[in-house]
Amino acid sequence: MSARTEPPRPPSPPRGERGVGLMEVMVATIIAVIAIIALAYSFGTGRGLVNRYELARMALAAAQRRMEMLEAAPAGSPDLAVPSQHGPQAVLVDGRAVCQESWRVDVFHDPANAVNPAHVDLRKVTVTVTWGGGTAAETTRLTRLFAAR
């Protein structure tokens, strides 16, 4: 029976020169891909927020416009009758409907004037602007007190 001679093993490299294993490369690649996808997602989300706030700014400007129009309206205007509800109606910017506005006028009693509860001390006007549709609908509200005049 002859003794089997195994081929000589290549000498193992010293510890400092072992190189990088396949598993290490794969794990590093997966981590890098996850980081890059998260970065891309954050860019996309940021861009979406910019577009979303463009509409929010337009809606706030529309609410301020309605409030100023009511401020400039004559005292007997039906738009300021107490109590009353107006709208909803489309807000047009450059001929394009961008949101819906409505406003409500209520009696507001001045707490310092409790002599005559039937007297209208002030008018509380609440302008509501809604944009978007369905589950994505968003709303902004402005409230201001007007003199009873």
């Binding site: 700014r57 337009m58 529309a62 100023e68 400039a72 910017v93 450059d94």
Partner: protein, 164 residues
């Protein structure tokens, strides 16, 4: 004569590795450029939106001090000048679109330019006046990426007595 542990790498292996590395680098470069464009577009549009709000706010603040207002086409109906007056009829402030730089400027009168209100270029600046109201019908600003930002509002002349 080389031993098994010291064979090195062949030209084919180097070529494959270089091709794969090139693909990865190209992918990362495309991603970087795309992300940079998205970021730049979003930033410039957000700045234009902010400038639109600032411009409307500046006009509103001045209109509230005025007793009366006048709107003139300058140089056409897409770009107008807003002139604000005191109760004695004297002009105290104006906003106008400057054709030289496409910016809305402000100042106390003709030839007294206090500079642009905001840094974004304005494509349309359209206004209207009612009895106690200045309507900012359309302010259209062009963002750095070419996209257009629109806004509109109104401001009441608080210095004018209300009609009964």
């Amino acid at each position: 004569m080389s031993r098994p542990g010291q064979r090195g790498i062949t030209l084919i292996e180097v070529s494959i590795v270089m091709a794969l590395a090139t693909m990865v680098v190209m992918g990362l470069l495309a991603f970087y450029l795309n992300s940079q464009n998205t970021w730049t577009d979003g930033s410039s549009q957000a700045m234009a939106q902010r400038d639109g709000t600032l411009l409307v706010g500046a006009i509103t603040d001045s209109v509230r001090f005025a007793h009366s207002a006048e709107v003139q086409d300058s140089p056409d109906s897409l770009h107008q000048t807003l002139i604000l007056r005191r109760p004695d009829g004297d002009e105290f402030w104006r906003f106008w679109w400057n054709a030289g730089d496409s910016l809305v400027h402000q100042g106390p009168g003709v030839g007294q330019d206090r500079g642009p209100v905001v840094a974004s270029r304005v494509v349309r600046f359209q206004l209207d006046t009612l009895t106690r109201l200045v309507e900012i019908r359309l302010v259209e600003l062009r963002a750095g990426d070419g996209q257009v930002v629109r806004t509109s509002s109104a401001a009441a002349l608080y210095n004018r007595p209300a009609t009964p």
